[in-house]
């Protein structure tokens, strides 16, 4: 590179302050917590109903029931069948969504303010008086099974699924998708969904978040009127104690004919309450969470092995996975694994350079307001506060905590959290081409398994 002329680069002007919108919370007699987040200037309203009825709340013998319950909710109420419910909501310009993750089930919608009342009434009817029609259950179950087939045909999705399957031991539910394995979904019957709903979809530990444009008093009255009669409290989530299945090793998932290998390298990460949460966030930003991060710079911008490479944590109530990921040209699979391993293994060996630490902090601190540009983004921001019982000033102090991460803390997070002897390497690709080169790397034992 020739020498650069930096003299004409514009300096930033004085920053304008940004503050996450103030919110209030209110407890109804039935235990439901209502969060009101008025947003000045907004012309939309987002409503999210969060229930502690996610995959962590389901019995492992009924894996996938939480997800199927969430999906089946939108197929109508006792009063309105699936077609009528879709027509009633969409006529208002509302598309009700309902889904389930490990830590919660979430139903919600976004609407123009004048349809908030009608939308909330339909949402309340949906969660309290669901139809759970057996035919709709059979349809959604078959669709879910077919969707898993489709996902497994996609090399990237297959790599994600294979990585967690081989990462966690047999006693850790996180080793499978939150939506369940095909074998689990296959055994489910509509009564399982009814039972999951009756047990877990209760207001006791539920949260209703309303963000955007609305009249606070009216919204609260409305919540009382439509959800006040809902009763009970579910048992909530189980305690999950994640454990790894084994140490450092390689699993090749054979996908003949692949022109790329989908790589995942990582180990069991952190939970959402980990005191290293912020130092881990900053560390993973300079390691593989931005364009100029070490991993993307090396594998994409220097070597051209991939369209993009990244790494990151997935903290949940219990420790979710940490992984680095890249889709690389088949021929360079082994060198790409070697490069990723070096970057991961050396992450904790030295403190970050002062400019890469500064850039990671500036990036995370600077993009903060961008996350809250939409009412949906603001409503979603309440979810971790509600789900993980974080302090109400969480977002007001969020940037201070990013700023407080220092080089020693970031290095320590890397050293403690990216342990070389535990790294699992998963490669989804053509084993006949990539196997010998990967074995020659001497990373650890290499196992080749067929694609499911």
């Amino acid at each position: 590179m020739s020498e650069l002329n930096n003299s004409n680069r514009p300096a930033p002007s004085a920053p304008r302050p940004y503050r996450f919108p103030d919110f209030t919370r209110h407890s109804l007699d039935n235990g439901l917590t209502v969060w009101l987040v008025p947003v000045a200037g907004s012309s939309l309203t987002s409503v999210h109903l969060l229930i502690d009825a996610g995959a962590a709340a389901e019995d492992e013998s009924h894996g996938g029931v939480a997800s199927l319950t969430a999906r089946l909710l939108v197929t109508g109420t006792r009063r309105l069948d699936a077609a009528a419910f879709a027509a009633a909501t969409e006529r208002l310009g509302i598309e009700v969504n309902s889904e389930s993750s490990w830590d919660s089930s979430r139903a919600g919608f976004q609407s123009l303010p004048q349809h908030l009342d009608a939308g909330m009434a339909l949402l309340a009817e949906m969660v309290q008086l669901p139809r759970f029609d057996p035919d709709e259950f059979s349809r959604l179950k078959a669709e879910r099974l077919a969707a898993i087939l489709q996902m497994r045909a996609d090399a990237g999705s297959l790599a994600d699924e294979s990585f967690i399957k081989h990462l966690y031991d047999a006693g850790t539910p996180y080793r499978r998708l939150a939506g369940g394995t095909p074998e689990m979904v296959e055994t489910l019957v509509v009564d399982d969904v009814r039972a999951h709903h009756a047990t877990h979809h209760r207001p006791g530990r539920a949260h209703l978040v309303i963000a955007g444009a609305f009249d606070g008093e009216k919204a609260l009255r409305f919540a009382e009127q439509h959800l006040g009669g809902w009763s009970g409290s579910g048992p909530g989530h189980r305690t999950i104690t994640p454990a790894a299945a084994g140490g450092r090793r390689v699993v090749i998932v054979d996908r003949p004919g692949s022109v790329q290998s989908e790589l995942r390298i990582g180990l069991v990460g952190i939970n959402r309450y980990d005191p290293r949460y912020f130092s881990a966030a900053i560390m993973s930003t300079y390691l593989g969470g931005s364009f100029g991060s070490r991993i993307n710079r090396r594998l994409r911008e220097e070597l051209g092995y991939t369209y993009g490479a990244r790494c990151g944590f997935d903290p949940r109530r219990a420790a979710g996975p940490f992984s680095a990921a890249a889709a690389v040209q088949t021929e360079v699979s082994a060198p790409a694994i070697a490069e990723l391993l070096v970057l991961l293994e050396t992450a904790g060996a030295a403190p970050p350079a002062s400019d890469e630490l500064r850039q990671a902090q500036d990036y995370q601190i600077g993009v903060f307001p961008l996350r809250f540009e939409t009412t949906g983004g603001i409503a979603a921001a309440i979810e971790p506060i509600a789900t993980y019982d974080l302090a109400d000033d969480y977002w007001q102090t969020y940037r201070d905590r990013l700023e407080a991460v220092d080089a020693a803390g970031a290095q320590q997070a890397a050293a403690e959290l990216i342990r070389p002897t535990e790294l699992l390497v998963v490669a989804v690709g053509d084993a006949s081409i990539i196997r010998a080169d990967i074995e020659a790397l001497g990373v650890g034992p290499v196992e080749v398994v067929p694609a499911p």
């Binding site: 304008r16 889709a327 850039q359 500036d362």
Partner: protein, 451 residues
């Protein structure tokens, strides 16, 4: 700042009181031809910068497919003033997000940054328009060529059904038509791209008089305009740009084209695609309404009949590509549920298209899609990046940025008669490409483009 427009209530169905915000628009043109759109919104301290260059894959010459997109990558490789990789790191360290994309008609570049970093974003865009070539090297080109080849492998060749849009373009447009080839291009042409090509392409198309710059968000217009004049003003226009490629084409194909592809997919999928009137016409607006009637939401015709009632399809998707030359594309696809053969699915999908053409939408159906559309526009406009992109789009393609404020009105002006007439004119058997993906037997590689 935000004006609300109320629409009249129309019995018997409840009518959304559409409150789509009016986007303020201030237009300027610099002496070098750069069109500038300013749209202030001071609610959140962030600002979006968005540039559309009037160059896309339709401008590529034979043997150079994929070059417009490869060139877009080169725009991030540094200049006389910015090191390789630094464009990204400067914006990200400023607390911003950024990217770029290339399509048939255009290439866009965009950043969203905290508002006090507006000048950095403007300077970076102006700098690479003025100073790209002195820093260009063979090493950078070789690197990004490999990156783009891996982008193609990831999104097309190693992806189930990944070749569908490339094949639709090949079948819908005749050989040598500017839309006949895909934007990602062929591996051979990417291999052949040279440093001379980079220089020539840049000199030809990357000039201020071939671009639109939109700035949306938290800024003061006079100050922003002064910055724009300071950084973009000195960049010379290119008065010798070649004529726009001829995209003229027969409005109808003339005969149905069928193709079957064996791919590594678990379920058959059926694609239908049609030549339709171009983006910007009343007919295209009406076909967008047809898209939503058929495929948007759980109360749409294809979802309701094929996915829910008859359970023939796993999923359905309908879309109209906003293309401005010759003919645009209306496409839809349905994935078969396990055990459903592709012929039955094809017949059912086409039957629904024909039924809607014959009977037209009911008032209830029109009401539904109008309300979904209005809410969707509102939702999209919450993001300043989306507002900036639409202003640039309408300015670049039609020289009418104010069209960004009439999307809902244009949509709601479409009635059942217009839907029927445009569907009858375009969505017909002799104007149709039917592309069917079938699972290969056994564990063989899928069909992949010659690489």
């Amino acid at each position: 700042m935000v004006a609300f427009r109320r629409l009249p209530t129309r019995a018997p169905y409840p009518r959304i009181l559409t409150a789509v915000p009016h986007i303020p628009i201030e237009r300027h043109t610099l002496p070098n031809g750069l069109r500038v759109i300013l749209s202030p919104d001071r609610r959140t301290p962030i600002v979006g910068v968005n540039l559309w260059y009037d160059v896309g894959s339709k401008h590529e010459r034979p043997g150079k497919t994929g070059f417009a997109h490869l060139f877009e990558h080169m725009m991030f490789q540094g200049t006389a003033n910015v090191a390789k990789g630094e464009h990204f790191s400067l914006v990200q360290a400023a607390g911003g997000t950024l990217n770029a994309s290339t399509w048939m008609d255009r290439t866009n570049y965009f950043e969203t940054v905290p508002s006090h970093q507006l000048e950095l974003a403007l300077w970076l865009e102006a700098d690479r328009l003025a100073n790209l070539l002195p820093a260009m090297t063979q090493e950078k080109l070789d690197n990004q060529r490999e990156v783009v080849k891996n982008e193609r492998r990831q999104s097309v060749d190693n992806q189930p059904y990944g070749t569908w849009d490339e094949k639709i373009q090949e079948l819908l447009y005749p050989v040598a038509h500017p839309y006949h080839h895909s934007t990602i291009g062929s591996m051979d042409d990417l291999t052949a791209a040279s440093l001379d090509d980079v220089g020539e392409f840049f000199a030809t198309y990357y000039a201020p008089d071939n671009a639109v710059l939109s700035v949306v968000g938290d800024f003061e217009p006079a100050g922003a305009l002064a910055m724009i004049e300071r950084h973009f003003g000195p960049i010379p226009a290119n008065p010798k740009r070649p004529p726009v490629p001829d995209t003229a084409i027969e409005p109808l194909i003339g005969a149905e084209i069928r193709e079957v592809v064996s791919d590594r997919v678990p379920l058959p999928r059926v694609y239908a695609a049609y030549r339709i009137p171009v983006f910007g016409t009343d007919a295209f607006d009406a076909l967008e309404v047809a898209v939503d009637l058929l495929g948007s939401g759980r109360a749409s015709r294809l979802y309701g009949r094929l996915v829910r009632e008859r359970q023939l399809a796993q999923d359905v998707t309908v879309m109209a590509f906003p293309i401005v030359g010759g003919a645009a594309i209306f496409s839809l696809w349905a994935t078969a549920r396990p055990g459903i053969d592709h012929e039955s699915l094809t017949e059912a999908v086409l039957g629904e298209v024909d039924l809607l053409t014959d009977e037209g939408p009911s008032d209830v159906e029109l009401e539904r899609v109008q309300n979904l559309h209005a809410a969707g526009i509102e939702s999209g406009q919450e993001r300043i990046s989306e507002r900036a992109d639409r202003l640039s789009m309408y300015a670049c393609l039609f020289d009418q940025p104010e069209r960004a404020n009439s999307e809902v009105a244009r949509y709601e002006a479409v009635d059942a008669t217009r839907v029927r007439s445009v569907m009858a004119a375009s969505l017909r058997a002799d104007n149709r490409v039917l592309l069917t993906y079938l699972p290969v037997e056994g564990d063989q590689p899928g069909t992949e483009e010659a690489a």
